[in-house]
Amino acid sequence: MSVILVFLLVIAGIAGWWLSQQRLMSKPWLEHGPDVAFAQEDVTGMPTAKIGLGVFLAVVGALFALFASAYFMRMELSDWQAPPVPRLLWLNTGILFLSSVALHCAVLASRNDEIRTTRLALITGGLTALAFLAGQLLAWRELAAAGYFVDSNPANGFFYLLTGMHGLHILGGLVALALTTYRTWTKPLDGRLKLGVELCAMYWHFLLFIWVAVLVLLAGWASDFIDICRQLLS
């Protein structure tokens, strides 16, 4: 369970930092009146939707950290045999990276009020993400064709499980992205819409990060890294 504990430590750090700004040492029973309390520090100054997404990403992060924890614990057992990582995954990673870049461009373009570039970038982002999903499906077929079925080894099971979970999250993101893209036609490019684009990009970058983490896990680098650390320690 060490991965999730490290993850929670990070969350606790963020929460602790935030709490430390909240005058938890103040003595509310001595302070009446609005002036004292109108301290502006309790307004985060960030859009609510962005904070909502941030909290949601923390939940998604916890989910994958737990999957990783389970992965490491199961890996210790003797029957573990990791499947080869299909070459295709590297291509898919590149495509997902492009997708993230496209959404980043969309954010920049929307900030400059370039509506057509924004649309173009959003659509590119969506299509590349779809291509990524298709690529993942192909990788599944490739593995299955080579005889690495989901039930033949727990490592294979995790391969399908983790890629599948990640894919589902992309799929959910695509719904939001499609909505936002649609709005670039029906709504004016105001602060709200810009925020929507920004949130899509934020989600995309996060899922790219998760994907890289999953890949590192599946390719066995994570365990190599841990082995090296262990050797250094002993």
């Binding site: 969350i11 005058r23 029973w29 302070e31 309790d42 609510t48 939940v59 737990l66 999957f67």
Partner: protein
Amino acid sequence: MVDVTPGSRDAVPPAEVPDVELYHPHSWWTTYVFSQDAKVIAIQYAGTAMAIGFVALVLSWLMRLQLGFPGTFDFITPEAYYQFITMHGMIMVVYLLTALFLGGFGNYLIPLMVGARDMVFPYANMLSYWIYLLAVLVLVASFFAPGGPTGAGWTLYPPQAILSGTPGGQDWGILLMLFSLILFIIGFTMGGLNYVVTVLQARARGMTLMRLPLTVWGIFTATVMALLAFPALFVACVMMLFDRLLGTSFFMPALVEMGEQLSYGGGSPILFQHLFWFFGHPEVYIVALPAFGIVSDLISTHARKNIFGYRMMVWAIVAIGALSFIVWAHHMYVSGMHPYFGFFFATTTLIIAVPTAIKVYNWVLTLWRGDIHLSLPMLFALAFIVTFVNGGLTGLFLGNVVVDVPLSDTMFVVAHFHMVMGVAPIMVIFGAIYHWYPKITGRMLNDAMGHFHFWVTFIGAYAIFFPMHYVGLVGVPRRYPELGETAFIPDSVHDLNAFITVAALIVGFAQMVFLFNLFWSLRYGKEAGGNPWRATTLEWQTPQTPPAHGNWGKELPVVYRWAYDYSVPGAPQDFIAQNDPGPPNLPRHA
């Protein structure tokens, strides 16, 4: 003391009414059914939770009938008994308590108490309820599925959970349970985002974190914990579904069943236990923290005294929330773990007792020389404190490895956790319902029925669970439908079991009176007025009772003080509402 001169007080401009896009329902359907108003969603959540909780209550009667009078009821086979236990436990913990505290009280109280018009993401909030309802329906469906519901125990431990020897293991039971839990978690996450972000972003002007009522602190912290803990259950459920449906061996070791070698091999049931309890222990506090918060407010209001050690209470809530993530393996002392691990987890478990004890002291010190009104909410709050201390003390026993090992899986454990996370939070729920019902409906609950309900429930709960400790110490194992001719079990145990069963049936009857009261008082209850308890917190200061759509009038409230200004010397009344600027030149008090 930072005082405000009268002049500057008037100068505070009213809170601007931001052009919030408050959702406005247009039809009967969107007002009462597919509503995005947190208050309606709260009532939907609470109603559904109580309905499914009623099922769990009936199941407990059936189990008790079997235990008290074994062999009398033909339809309670051992398989049926396992199914009853499992569904009873899971419903009580997840579908009743979690849903009622967070989905019910969270939805109703958070926006009102922080001075917001609604939750920040009303649409997701509505979806949260409907997904919860779907989860409940899937769970109920398992009663009618071929093979019946799962009988794996609420902990769903593999490998037995998905083998044919366990009811529902190779039928629909376990599948529906896992699907239902997954749905619940998805639905909860949508609601949970709302509860957290509303507290972060939608507080009224002047409502600093340290001015929040402890109820909000409790629900807020519990929600943060739930958002981080439920994913562990999610992972466990998904991986178990893979094992069951796709034949992977995440949790399943090599097995021979009925002389037949199964295709599983090499998996680790312990892995499941880690995941389950990584959720399961925080879950205890997910239920307890809202109860802690609510009870603090009940005690302060009904003893007309400010809460003792407010800051300490807040810190304790946060500390408990954080610590409860590193104690999970105390549920696994008997799983053959490394003794050093056991030592570590016993230590962290005992450390949690410190902030918890601080809270108990502070409640008692709040009562000390208070002007205690023995109203129903106060009675239930007192019952909570007593019961919680009781269950907490046996928890200290069980937290120690050497004591736990012989007591593990006996009725002692059952008695312990019913005290601490069954009876205690339920007491708070009742107290909270008696307290807030007037705000929700505009009428008081009937007092006579209430007193009957309280005394029977309180005394009855002790009649049920006190003897159970003894039964457990004698060595009666839990989850056994029948003891049979067991040499080490004295006759007194059988008599006690019959006694407990009678008590359980009486307590169950008292709940019917409570339910009746809920409906009866809707029509015939005394008119409550806006603030019958003369409480300080914002929800009692709404222009209308019950609060209208949008909660407040044109202007949002402005908050001038903390939530506990009771019996302030020199004040014209014995309470000063949070949004009351207060009389000029109020003498200082500390």
